[in-house]
Symmetry: C2
Subunit: 487 residues, 2 copies
C-alpha cells in the first residue's frame, strides 16, 4: 500500500510559496464559512516517527484561523483519563459543531503500538479497529467531517533523520523512543497498513501523504483541508437505517400481579441494603464504578426506588443525575456526548433518572429524533455500554413496568395529595395518551439493547414494595457478581 506514495515527489521553494499564498486566502474564506456548518470538522494527523508530524502541525497552525481550532495531543494522559474508559479522552476532545479539531495521533497511535509490541493479538487489534471505524461512522452520521492523514517515509529516510537527531537530542526519552520506532519499522508499517484498510471509509477517508519532502507533505495536506472545507455541504442524510420489523411484546411478559407483603418487604429490603452498604465501599477500594439506569413509565416509582438504593450508600460515593432537556453546549455535540462528559472516576456510583435511552423512547415518540437517528441509536448505545463494561464499569439497567390502570390510579392520587401535586404535569397526561407508541418503543429498546454485558432488568412496579426490593436486590446481585469475579 505504501509503495504508492514512495514516489519522491517534490515541490520547489517558489512553487510552494505561491501555492501556499493562494491556498491560504481560500482557506480563510472556507474556514469562516465552515463555522456555521452543522457538524464538527476533525483532522487526524498520524504517521511514522520522523515523518514531520509536529512540523506539519505547526505549519497548519500558521495558516488556519486558530480561534475556532482545538489542537489535541494525547501524549500526556492524566489520572482522570486513566480512571475512565479509553474513549473518554476523545469524547472530551470533540469540538463543537462548526469547529475544527486537529487530533494528533488520535485514537490510532495506541493500537499500533500495542500491536507492534505484541501486547495485543491480531484479533484484538481487529476488534479495536472495528470500534474505531464505528466511532467515526457514528460521528459522521451526526454531521461530522473526518479527514485523516497518514505521513509516510521510507525506512531509509527515517534512519537518516534519526542519525541527525542523535547529535541534537538532549532528552534520552525522545531518543530511545525514536530508536524503538526505527527498530520496529516493518511491524509498524504492517500494523498501519491493516489499520488504514480497516478504517478507510467513504465518510472518513485516509489520505496517504509522502513525507520525504516537508514542502510536498505540507502542501498536500493544506490543499486537502482547503478543498474539504470549501466543499462542505450540509451533511447528506446517512443511508437510511433498516425500518424496524414488528417487535415482540416483551413487556407483556412481566407479571404485574405479584405482591409483596410488608414483613417480607422490610426484611428483604434491609438485607439487600446492608449488603449494598458494604459492597459500595468495597467497590471504591477496588476502583470498580457502577452505573444504574432508571427508565420506565411515568409514576412507576423511579424516585422511590432511587431513594431506597441511595439510602444504602455513602453519599460521598454516589451521584444522582436527572436527565432533562440538553443544554446548548450539549446540543452542539453528538447526543451521547452529554453522558460521556459526566462519567465518574473509578470507584464511584452514578444513578441516572432517565438516561441515554431517551433517544429511543421520548425522542422517538415525540419526533425529536428522525427515524434514522433513533434506529441507529441502538447500535451506538450497545457500543457505548460495551465500552463501559470493558473498562470494568458495572452497568445495571432497570425498566420499571406499570399497567395503564395503575398509572391512572397514581396520577389521580397525585392530583389529590397536596405535596404530590408538583409531580404531575400536563406532559404526564399527554404522554399517557401515547401509551401504545411508548410501549412499542420500550419493547424495541429492550429487545435491541438487552445484551449479555448490560442486560435489561424488567421490574414489575404495580406493587411499590415489590419494585423497590427488586431494584435494590438487582443492584446488590450485580455488584456481588462483579466483585467476586475480580477477586
Amino acid at each position: 500500500m505504501f509503495e504508492a506514495v514512495e514516489l519522491g515527489q517534490k515541490v520547489g521553494k517558489r512553487a510552494f510559496k505561491e501555492a501556499v499564498a493562494e491556498l491560504r486566502t481560500r482557506l480563510v474564506h472556507a474556514q469562516f464559512a465552515s463555522t456555521s456548518h452543522p457538524g464538527p470538522i476533525l483532522i487526524v494527523v498520524a504517521g511514522l516517527d520522523g515523518a514531520g508530524k509536529g512540523e506539519l502541525l505547526n505549519f497548519l497552525g500558521g495558516v488556519l484561523d486558530l480561534r475556532d481550532v482545538k489542537v489535541c495531543t494525547f501524549w500526556n494522559e492524566t489520572d482522570e483519563e486513566r480512571e475512565r474508559p479509553f474513549w473518554w479522552r476523545f469524547w472530551r476532545a470533540l469540538p463543537n459543531r462548526g469547529q475544527i479539531a486537529i487530533l494528533f495521533g488520535a485514537w490510532y497511535t495506541r493500537w499500533i503500538h500495542l500491536r507492534t509490541d505484541g501486547r495485543i493479538d491480531p484479533s484484538e487489534f481487529e476488534r479495536q479497529l472495528r470500534r474505531v471505524a464505528q466511532f467515526e461512522q457514528m460521528l459522521a452520521n451526526d454531521g461530522a467531517t473526518v479527514l485523516k492523514f497518514w505521513l509516510h517515509i521510507t525506512h531509509k529516510t527515517q534512519k537518516r533523520r534519526l542519525k541527525k537527531l542523535k547529535g541534537r537530542l538532549d532528552h534520552d526519552d525522545a531518543l530511545s523512543r525514536a530508536l524503538w520506532h526505527s527498530q520496529h519499522y516493518d511491524g509498524i508499517v504492517a500494523a498501519a497498513e491493516q489499520m488504514i484498510r480497516r478504517t478507510d471509509r467513504a465518510h472518513a477517508r485516509w489520505q496517504l501523504v509522502e513525507a520525504t519532502q516537508a514542502r510536498h507533505a505540507k502542501l498536500t495536506v493544506l490543499r486537502a483541508i482547503t478543498e474539504t472545507l470549501e466543499g462542505l455541504k450540509p451533511p447528506r442524510p446517512a443511508a437510511p437505517a433498516t425500518p424496524s420489523a414488528p417487535v415482540a411484546p416483551v413487556l407483556q411478559g412481566v407479571d404485574l400481579e405479584q405482591r409483596l407483603e410488608p414483613d417480607a418487604y422490610r426484611q428483604r429490603l434491609a438485607a439487600a441494603q446492608a449488603e449494598i452498604e458494604r459492597v459500595v465501599w468495597q467497590a471504591y477500594d477496588q476502583r470498580v464504578s457502577s452505573v444504574v439506569i432508571f427508565e420506565g413509565w411515568d409514576a412507576a416509582g423511579k424516585g422511590g426506588s432511587i431513594r431506597r438504593l441511595v439510602d444504602a450508600m455513602d453519599m460521598r460515593l454516589v451521584q444522582v443525575r436527572s436527565i432533562a432537556a440538553p443544554t446548548d453546549e450539549e446540543r452542539d455535540h453528538h447526543y451521547l456526548w452529554r453522558f460521556w462528559r459526566h462519567l465518574p472516576r473509578a470507584g464511584y456510583v452514578t444513578l441516572y433518572d432517565r438516561s441515554w435511552y431517551g433517544r429511543v423512547l421520548v425522542e422517538r415518540v415525540e419526533g425529536f429524533a428522525t427515524p434514522d437517528d433513533w434506529r441507529r441509536a441502538y447500535e451506538e448505545i450497545n457500543e457505548f455500554e460495551e465500552q463501559l463494561t470493558e473498562a470494568g464499569v458495572v452497568v445495571v439497567k432497570l425498566w420499571l413496568h406499570l399497567s395503564p390502570e395503575e398509572q391512572l390510579r397514581r396520577f389521580k392520587e397525585r392530583e389529590q395529595v397536596p405535596w404530590k401535586q408538583h409531580k404531575l404535569t400536563e406532559e404526564d397526561w399527554r404522554n399517557r395518551e401515547q401509551w401504545s407508541a411508548y410501549e412499542d418503543a420500550a419493547n424495541e429498546m429492550v429487545l435491541r439493547t438487552s445484551t449479555s454485558h448490560a442486560p435489561w432488568h424488567l421490574v414489575p412496579a404495580d406493587d411499590k414494595r415489590l419494585a423497590r426490593v427488586r431494584v435494590v436486590e438487582t443492584y446488590a446481585a450485580a455488584m456481588r457478581a462483579r466483585l467476586s469475579s475480580s477477586t
Copy 2:
C-alpha cells in the same frame, strides 16, 4: 467560642422521628421551589474529626431529593486538579443556579490542617481566610446562598469515639488520621475559631452545631436547611458599589505616532520569535503555564498579533480561545466560571482573544451588567489573577490601542477588500459610535486592574508592525523574567 455549644443538648428518639417527618415534608416543597431560585445553594459541612460529618451527610442524602443535589468531597485530588490553582477544584464543583451542592470540608479543611501543622504562619493563614471570605462574598453577590455548619465535640467525646474506632478500624490510614486529630485537638480548635470568626459574614453564616449527640446535630442541620430553603427570596441587591470617581485618561499617554521600519520589524520579530520558540518548551518542562489576554479596539490588530505569537509556538502547547457570548451553562454560573473551567494544565499556553475583561468593557457599555456588577468585577478580577499568578501562571495582559482615525481607515479598507469583508460587521460600526463610553471603560479598567503581579501592557497599534513586535517582545520578556526567577 465553642463553649457556647457544649451544652449537652439531646433529642429523644421519638421527638426526633416526629420532627424529621415534619421537616421532611416541608423540605420536599422548599427544595422543589428552590430549583427556580436565581442562585446556587451551597451547604458546607465541616467540623472536628469524629463529630459525625459522614453520618450527617448520609442523613441529609436520605431526606433531600437528590436529583438536584451535587455532593462533593475533596479528599481525592486528581493530578488535573493539582496542576491548576487551588481554587479550580471548587469552581469546578459549583452547581447551577437553583441547584444544591453539599461540600464536604470545602475550601476550609486544607487551611486548618496547614495551620495546625505549622506549615503556614498566622499571617498566611489570615490571608487565605480573607480570600475564602472574598470568594463567598463574590458568590453571594451573584445570588448564591451559602450555609455553613461546623460540627463541634469536646476532646473527651472525641477520645471516647476514637477508642471505639480502634477496635474496628481495618485501615491503618484512617486510624493514624484519627490519632493526629486527637493529638492536635487544641490547635485545630484554635485554628477553627479564628477561621470561623474571619469568615462568618451576613451572607455566609457559620452555624456551630453541638455534635455530641447525633440526633441533635442532624435535627439542627436539617431544620436550618429547611428554613433557609423556605426563606429563599430573589437575592437582595448587594450593597451598591461605590460609584466610580472620574478616571485619569491613561490611554491618552500612549504614543500613537511611533513607527517601525520594515527592516527593524523583521529583525526584532525574528529575534523575539526565536526566543519564544525555545522558552515555550522550557516552560513546558518546568510546568509553567502562561495566559495571554488580548483586548483593544475593534480592528486594532488582535488577530494579526495573536498570529505572530502563535507562529513562534509549538501548536501542541498552545490554545487560542475566542470569547463570545456565554452558553446557557455558562450563564447558569458566576461570570468567571467560564474562564476557570477552561484553565489549562501546568506547562501550557492559552491566548484569549477578548477575555474576562468583557465584564468591565462591553458588558458595562452595553448595559449587560448592572453598574454594581461591573464595579465589583475589578476586585473579582484582581483576585482571580492573583490566584493565577500565585499558582505560578504567567499572566500577560495586552491592550492594543488605536486612534479613532486609524480605526476608520481600517474599517473602510475592510469594506473594500473582498477577503476582509467578513471581519467587519454592523456591530463594529455601532461600537464605534460609542467610542467615548468605551474609552472611559478602558481607562478605568487599566487603572483598577493593572497590578504588580499582572500589569497591563499598553501597545500602540496605529502601526501594525510596531504593535506586533511589541506583543511578541512583551510575551518573551515576561517569560524570560519568570523562568530565570525560578531557576
